[in-house]
Amino acid sequence: MFGLVTYILVAPLVTFGIVILLGKRLPRGGDWLTLFSIWTGLFASLYLFFRYMLGSYDPDYLVSYSFNWLKWGNYDLTIGYAIDNMGIMMLVVVTLISALVHLYSVGYMHGDPKYSRFFAFLSLFSFSMLGLVLVDNLLMIYCFWELVGLSSYLLIGFWHEKDSAANAGKKAFITNRIGDAGMLIGILLTFTTLGTLNLHEIAAGVTAGKLSGGLLTAAGVLLFCGAIGKSAQFPLHVWLPDAMEGPTPVSALIHAATMVAAGVYLVARLFVILTLDASLVIAYIGGFTALFAATIAVAQNDVKRVLAYSTLSQLGYMVMALGAGAYMAGFFHLVTHAMFKACLFLGSGSIIHAMHHALHHIHSDADAQDMRNMGGLRKLMPLTFWTFLIATISLSGVPLTSGFLSKDAILGGSLAFAMMHPKHWILPVLGFSAAILTAFYMFRLIYLTFFGTFRPGEKAEAEVHESPWTMTLPLVVLASLSISIFFVAPGVNPFNAGNGWFATLFPNPPRAYELVLPHNEEAIEPIKEIEIVEHVEHTEPVAEVIGESATETSVEHSEEIHHENEPLAIVHNGTLTEEKLAEEEHKEEATHTTAHAAGATAHAVEHDAHHDVHHKAHNIAMIISIILAFSGILIATAGYYWKKKALDPAVWQKRLGIIYKGMFNKWWSDEIYRATAINGTIGLAKVLGWFDLYIIDGIVNGAAWLGRVYAMIEGWFDNHIIDGLVNLTAWIVGIFGRIVRLFQAGQLQRYVWYTLVFIGLFILMKVV
């Protein structure tokens, strides 16, 4: 299994290396290599999906493999794989979309001078994204997180001859860095407090209460900062619409389906450790983004920008769901959204491709992406139209589509959250408002693009053709996967995914605060309960019935399965029957500790109430969301198709006045950032530059000047005083030498004289 996973992960990296180095010398620019690597990766992922995920059908399925990588003081830093249901699901989503986008790009990028480099970058992205979903610790997630950001930067700025594309790439990268800085602090905070970066050990540490209170909230919010950047949530959302400067397949793969979902994936991974406060921050940011972006999408004319803001809005939904505790709903929407949004983007790429060709033919320099230049494409590009329509109704949340199921789950989850915490009634309101807007702007897009007459004229109309099969096949596949039947199986009710494989395999895990908060006076009790239940499960034969799917099958598949979370899941998240069984066992075994039994009963009652609220909220949300979806579609149809006078868009634009201007101008978010953050930074840089130039440089130059003056003084001292002393000594010695020289005549007889004189002197001294 690990061999297979390693192949899926490494193959794109290898093809990236080959194609980036040798791409121009390979036939067809080496696209077949990257296609081969990602398609085999897709089949391998599907094998894992059917063999292990659906095969074991166990919510707690987890296989991990890790090894020591670095030793930091007392800490062993391990890296490795953690393959669970979420990992396999992400693997399938990423390889599926990536494989289809690779295929699509063969048609879309045909004839581009940098054709092979494009495929190399796509491979690099696939590698990074697959690594991100497979690794088991935050540090490696962070590494791949940055790699994903890098490949996104490279692909946004792919046509870097255009200034706008180059700038968009930089903007995306820098905006992401702001969020990533927060995430890095969060990682360091987690590491210093828990001493581990392994996701499961972090979850276990938090559950055991090693990190709690304000610090845990801070850790959750800081880690969420990374998700704000990557998933383009409200304060850092500005990069995503600009990222549409990249080639359209890239928009579909990176900026709609996978990379931007990485933030949501991260929040889902950290779901267990989120405190109530952190969850609220997340929920409000997500909810606000959902509505905020939806209002902007209503007023955009660029087809890709509408989709970009729609992506923002849907990501907001996912984040809100996770914040509101609807774990399954958030992740479910991630998966379904990846399918239909990729389909929409690829569809828009198909439209733009055709429009570009047609406009080029009539020598018009009109914008090929502007919806006001389109119209009537329904008959010209039927396959694109039908797939686009299916994806649109899925995004709008019309029943029988996957989007309906997941969006409904999110709205139900947020409604249930509001019913339990009535203070936060605004969350579902944000969600429902965004839902009606979503249906409206998507059908506005459909009517402007596919209905009416082709606006550039008949001469250009003759040049509009359906795209080649490499581009339409991915559309068909993705549109088919947007139908609800794939997600409700093995259930049969198309309105309810609650019994489907997805809901079964991704139950809401308990959050750390839920384990501790409800029983303030016996905060440690729940953990003891869990231990007892665990014992029961391993000793009693009845327990094997409970754990049948869980324990036996997975052990068969691999030796390295961990069941850390399993007991928790049974207490808090198993289906009702399972929980009751466990509870009965618990009562029988633990009668001597009546307090425990009472606690467990209270807990079970609360859980039932919880479940009831969810059930009720779900039904209400479903009815409201169907009504809202259809009313949104109705308004769009009335305004743009039937062209009712009362709903004429031009009239409403005037009537809404400043509100329309705000929506059209993205609520001036770029302008506000320019006025505050960017100009502020530039101003600060100028002040600091002045400070550097005059104060710091002044100090440095002053010091240098002082040094020079000192050196001059010392030089003078050296030249005159020190050298003078030395010369004086030499001069004195020279004088002596000259005197002594007189005696050395070199004449023998003179020496004899000296000898005699001195002998005489000695004798004289002796005598005297």
Binding site: V740, R741, L742, F743, Q744, A745, G746, Q747, L748, Q749, V752, W753, L756
Partner: protein, 101 residues
Amino acid sequence: MYNLTIYLMVSAVLFLLGLFAVMTRKNAISVLMGIELILNASALNFVTFSHFSSGNLNGQVAALFVIIIAAAEAAVALAIFLNIFRIKATSQVDKADLLQG
């Protein structure tokens, strides 16, 4: 019997004559002859003391040494003077001032 004083006086006169020659004569050969006189004066001294200290022959031996040294010295000195003559074309000792400081 001649006494010691007479011998020593003769020796002293010899020494002084030698010294006088060494200090005053310009000719190198004359200087060399003065040195011979000094050496013989000292040899006479040795022999005298040997004679008057009964039975001690050390002085006699020393005198023999002096004679030998005088011979060797004459040979070396003559060689030196020859070389000086070759360089300076003179045998005057006051002209030979090559080692003047």
